[in-house]
């Protein structure tokens, strides 16, 4: 790559990044300034933590964070396990009905869970799980998205590696665990981050299926600020948003390096 290309690419990357990060920058701006400065960007604006204080006090956030953490961990672990197994089945086994089952999985991508809340609430009610963290998680523990994504990745794992492991006496699950999963590590990271973000931010279903502080996730606390009857208070919403998403942003900063460590370099002809 010539120097010129490099500069062009880098410039493009940075310009795009600035546009992309603007909402975050704006959120930070408003969160640390009094609300007069929501729409006025003067560098001399006074800093304040009041918005954060207000947000923190509006709901039992400590408990909500704990709930969210349990919820998200549970979902992601279950998703990893269930989706990995299913994806492996779809990627490397041939059996009658496979295509039909796979289209049923794809169908789950299309069906928005929110549309089914009434029915799902009924199911959860029948299981006696209303107002539990498990109730929030159950409809999501098997994800068509995850199955599809991991299947796509498993399909690109060189067959020889599978074969070599088989020769070494590894059974299907050992191969899955010791060959496919490590090779798909970047995808698991990607999926994990996406899934965590998604469930961290999911709102309607948790709101409906839970009633108590002991089970509700942070988004429920966050939503108190996003009501619109009295106009939008950007300063507080954004402070609350930053507060609740900070763990995600930090997690991404920590994990993103993993995306760019090559796993599949030489060694496979």
């Amino acid at each position: 790559m010539t120097g010129f290309d490099r500069i062009l690419m880098t410039t493009g990357a940075v310009v795009l990044a600035i546009v992309w990060v603007l909402p975050l920058v704006y959120a930070i701006w408003t969160a640390v300034h009094p609300s007069e400065f929501e729409a006025r960007f003067v560098l001399t604006a006074p800093l304040t933590v009041e918005n954060f204080a207000k947000a923190w006090n509006a709901a039992p956030f400590a408990r909500y964070f704990l709930n969210t953490f349990i919820l998200v961990t549970g979902i992601v672990v279950c998703q990893f396990v269930l989706c990995t197994l299913a994806a492996y089945g779809f990627a490397r086994y041939r059996f009658p009905g496979r295509d039909i089952l796979f289209s049923l999985v794809l169908l789950q991508l299309l069906v928005m869970p929110d549309i089914l809340i009434v029915e799902n609430y009924r199911t959860i009610g029948a299981l006696g799980l209303v107002d539990t963290i498990a109730a929030i998680a159950l409809p999501y523990v098997a994800s068509g998205f995850g199955v599809f994504l991991i299947r796509q990745t498993f399909m690109t794992v060189p067959k020889e590696l599978d074969e070599a492991a088989r020769i070494e006496g590894a059974g299907p699950l050992t191969i899955l665990w010791r060959v496919y999963v490590p090779l798909a590590k970047p995808i698991y990271l990607a999926y994990g981050l996406v899934s965590v973000s998604h469930h961290w931010n999911n709102f309607l279903w948790p709101l409906i299926v839970t009633n108590s502080v002991e089970t509700r996730p942070v988004t429920v606390g966050l939503s108190i600020f996003s009501t619109s009857d009295s106009g939008i208070e950007w300063a507080v919403i954004n402070a609350a948003t930053l507060m609740t998403s900070a763990p995600l942003l930090i997690a991404f900063l920590l994990f993103q390096r993993q995306f760019v460590q090559s796993f599949m370099r030489a060694g496979i002809k």
């Binding site: 809340i117 009434v118 609430y121 009295s230 939008i232 507080v236």
Partner: protein, 402 residues
């Protein structure tokens, strides 16, 4: 007795905490009752949660929900009238002690289904400094439609490029435009729907005229921003000096007081044929599927929380209009009003207020109406045509309820 109580929060300022603390107070006084007060999101989330839970066989005993959703809940067969629990004279007195304007939305077919709780009404806010700068009397808001146009013209300012830097007035039209528009129709002395909730008057000439007036504010007179005017950004636009006057809910009073960087006034909406404004906000409902014991406890709780003492706390914390005259007679309330007279505007306006548009299949009917308003405001259709179409659609839907 165990009760579950859903409540929405639609304004900032710790409304949820106030409800929780009031509940706790009640529980302390009534140790044999336990109430699980569940924050249920916005009004829209709350109704979804209520109906979902009810369909799942798990309805709460009581809930606050939009007063306008009464017919919807009735239609779903979810709510019970309060009348069965009004047994004593004292109870009857309590029920009669609400402002009639609020009760309009709470009763149908001779029965009371809702108890007003977090109720509001739109008022006009004006920027006194802007008035002064434009050479108007900062203490006199427009009292009529014509005055609003005239003053608006004076207040509208343009910069050197000919771009408007300050509009005269701002009547938000996003989300639920029918509500503020209902102010205009009421002032034009027309009712949008009958009290049985099965007949609308969308194509009434007076309604058309009101809509034409609204449209003319930006097209003909150029005193309001063209296109759909965003509800949520309106207070901010007012604070930023983007507009000299705004129509919005009394629920914004605290917000405006805290954040307006200038001196402002609050007034009743201007009049045309008459003064007028809709009411809005949420009522208490009782739900089907609860035991009599639970219902009795629920009614008791509602009675308690609407008593002047509690009601005053609630009003001062949130800016909602206290729904009973008695509340305004308390000392706390009087002190508060003396300190901040603007809160009285909404109360006084109640005299002229009417029920918020509410019909069977309320959300759909209002949506149809909203679409018609949006079409006229954005110039896609003439007002008369848009409203006639809306009326036809509404008729088709409501026919089933006549």
């Amino acid at each position: 007795t165990d009760l579950q109580f859903y409540f929405p929060v639609a304004v900032g300022g710790g409304a949820a905490e106030v409800i929780q603390s009031l509940t706790d107070e009640y529980l302390a006084a009534n140790p044999d009752i336990s109430i699980d007060a569940v924050y249920a999101g916005s009004y829209q989330d709350t109704i979804t949660k209520v109906i979902t839970a009810a369909r799942g066989g798990n309805a709460p005993q009581l809930s606050v929900a939009l007063s306008a959703d009464m017919f919807t809940l009735l239609d779903e067969g979810l709510i019970l009238p309060f009348d069965d629990f009004i047994t004593t004279d004292e109870d009857r007195a309590w029920l009669d002690g609400f402002y009639p304007a609020f009760m309009e939305n709470s009763q149908t077919g001779g029965k009371t289904y809702g108890i007003p709780f977090q109720r509001s009404t739109p008022v006009l806010y004006w920027n006194k400094e802007a008035f002064a700068e434009a050479g108007l009397d900062p203490e006199t808001p427009p009292a009529t439609w014509e005055e609003m146009v005239e003053m608006g013209k004076t207040l509208t300012r343009k910069d050197d490029n000919g771009n408007v830097s300050q509009w005269g007035v701002r009547i938000p039209t996003s989300g639920f435009p029918y509500w503020l528009f209902q102010g205009l129709t009421t002032q034009n002395d027309v009712i949008l729907a009958n009290s049985d909730g099965n007949e609308t008057n969308f194509d009434d000439p007076a309604v058309v005229e009101a809509l034409e007036y609204l449209v003319s504010l930006s097209t003909e007179h150029g005193v309001m921003e063209p296109g759909i005017v965003e509800w949520g950004a309106t207070p901010k636009a007012f604070f930023e000096g983007q507009t000299a006057m705004m129509w919005t809910t009394t629920g914004n009073l605290t917000n405006v007081r805290d954040n307006a960087p200038f001196d402002f006034g609050v007034a009743m909406l201007p009049a045309n044929k008459r003064r007028g404004a809709p009411t809005g906000g949420g009522n208490f409902y009782l739900f089907e599927g609860s035991s009599d014991e639970q219902l009795a406890a629920a009614v008791d709780f509602i009675k308690w929380i609407t008593l002047p003492e509690q009601s005053a706390k609630w009003t001062m914390a949130t800016g909602y209009v206290a729904p009973r005259p008695a509340t305004w007679e308390t000392d706390t309330m009087k002190d508060y009003a003396a300190d901040f007279p603007a809160v009285l505007v909404a109360r006084d306006q109640l005299e002229h207020a009417v029920a918020e548009l509410s019909t069977y299949e309320n959300q759909r009917i209002t949506q149809i109406f909203n679409d018609a308003l949006a079409a006229a405001i954005t110039g896609t259709k003439p007002a008369a045509e848009a409203l006639a179409e809306a009326q036809a659609q509404a008729d088709a839907i409501l026919a089933a309820y006549r």
